[in-house]
């Protein structure tokens, strides 16, 4: 535990959080960089329904990521305070 600008902070926790953030970043980047042109670039013959499905699923993934990120921050902070 160290004192940082008036707050007690557990350095171990900070490290743990940092490694989680790195891991998440990689996972989230994977979702972000998905491109609907990929099947065309792969030389397949995708139909327009592919495009519609792509955005539907990308939207669902991002909504869930965004939801999880928000929730996890709250849970984590609750735990931090209760230690």
């Amino acid at each position: 535990m160290i004192l940082f600008s008036g707050d007690l902070i557990d350095l171990k926790l900070v490290h743990a959080v940092e490694s989680v953030v790195i891991e998440w970043s990689h996972q989230i980047r994977e979702v972000l960089k998905k491109d609907s042109a990929q099947p065309l670039l792969d030389g397949l013959d995708p139909l327009p329904s592919t495009e519609i499905e792509f955005w539907k699923s990308k939207r669902a993934h991002l909504e869930s990521i965004s939801e999880q990120v928000k929730l996890k921050f709250l849970h984590q902070r609750k735990k931090t305070f209760s230690i």
Binding site: F4, S5, D7, I9, L11, L13, V14, V17, E18, V21, I22, W24, S25, I28, R29, V31, L32, S36, A37, L40, D45, P46, L47, P48, S49, T50, E51, I52, W55, K56, K58, R59, L62, E63, I65, S66, V69, K72, F73, Q76, R77, T80
Partner: protein
């Protein structure tokens, strides 16, 4: 979690903020696009289930919705996005046309019937091309991408369509010849020649 990283002056804080912003931007984009693409789903479905000859009348309303999509969906109004959709629509049209011209059926049936079917298919394909060009004209400088980006495969497909048409027209012409009676002084001789 953000607060913890910020308070401990973590070097990961900026990248944490960055990813947060990127997710928010990507989510906005996906929601915007998904919402605006949905009305097209029913157009594609009916195109898939309608006989290709009757699908002709579906092209105009479909392009109208694409026009609206391009005008109202901020995240979709780029060449790279619309080109993907247009390519996929061309794929759909080509698939429907090929299915309509089933080779087994074409070669087994009467030649003149096959020719009629080929002509009908051409009519639908030309209607699609016409509606595309009208939309493009309306978009004038907004759709300034090269048509090759959309129609590379289509052009090849049309070349094959021309070949098929030529093949059947030639066959038809020769079959007509079979029934021709050549008269005149040298009629008999010429008739024999055409048979060989």
């Amino acid at each position: 979690m953000g607060e913890l990283l910020s308070k401990s002056n973590s070097s990961y804080y900026p990248s944490f903020l960055q990813i947060h912003n990127d997710v928010r931007y990507a989510l906005d984009e996906a929601q915007d696009i998904d919402t605006h693409l949905r009305p097209l789903a029913s157009h594609f479905e009916s195109m898939e289930t309608t006989d290709f000859i009757e699908a002709k009348s579906l092209f105009k309303p479909m392009f109208r919705v694409i026009d609206l999509l391009y005008t109202h969906c901020q995240h979709y109004a780029t060449a790279s996005r619309i080109v993907v959709l247009l390519q996929e629509i061309c794929n759909l049209i080509m698939k429907q046309a090929s299915e309509h011209l089933d080779p087994m059926e074409l070669f087994k049936g009467e030649v003149d019937e096959a020719l009629m079917k080929i002509d009908d298919t051409f009519e639908s394909l030309e209607e699609f091309d016409k509606e595309y060009k009208l939309t493009r004209e309306k978009m004038n400088d907004k759709w300034d991408f090269s048509p090759k980006l959309v129609f590379a495969k289509w052009d090849e497909f049309m070349k094959r369509m021309d070949l098929i048409k030529e093949l059947f027209s030639t066959a038809n012409a020769f079959l007509k010849l079979e029934k021709v009676e050549i008269g005149g002084v040298k009629g008999k001789l010429n008739r024999r020649k055409t048979k060989h």
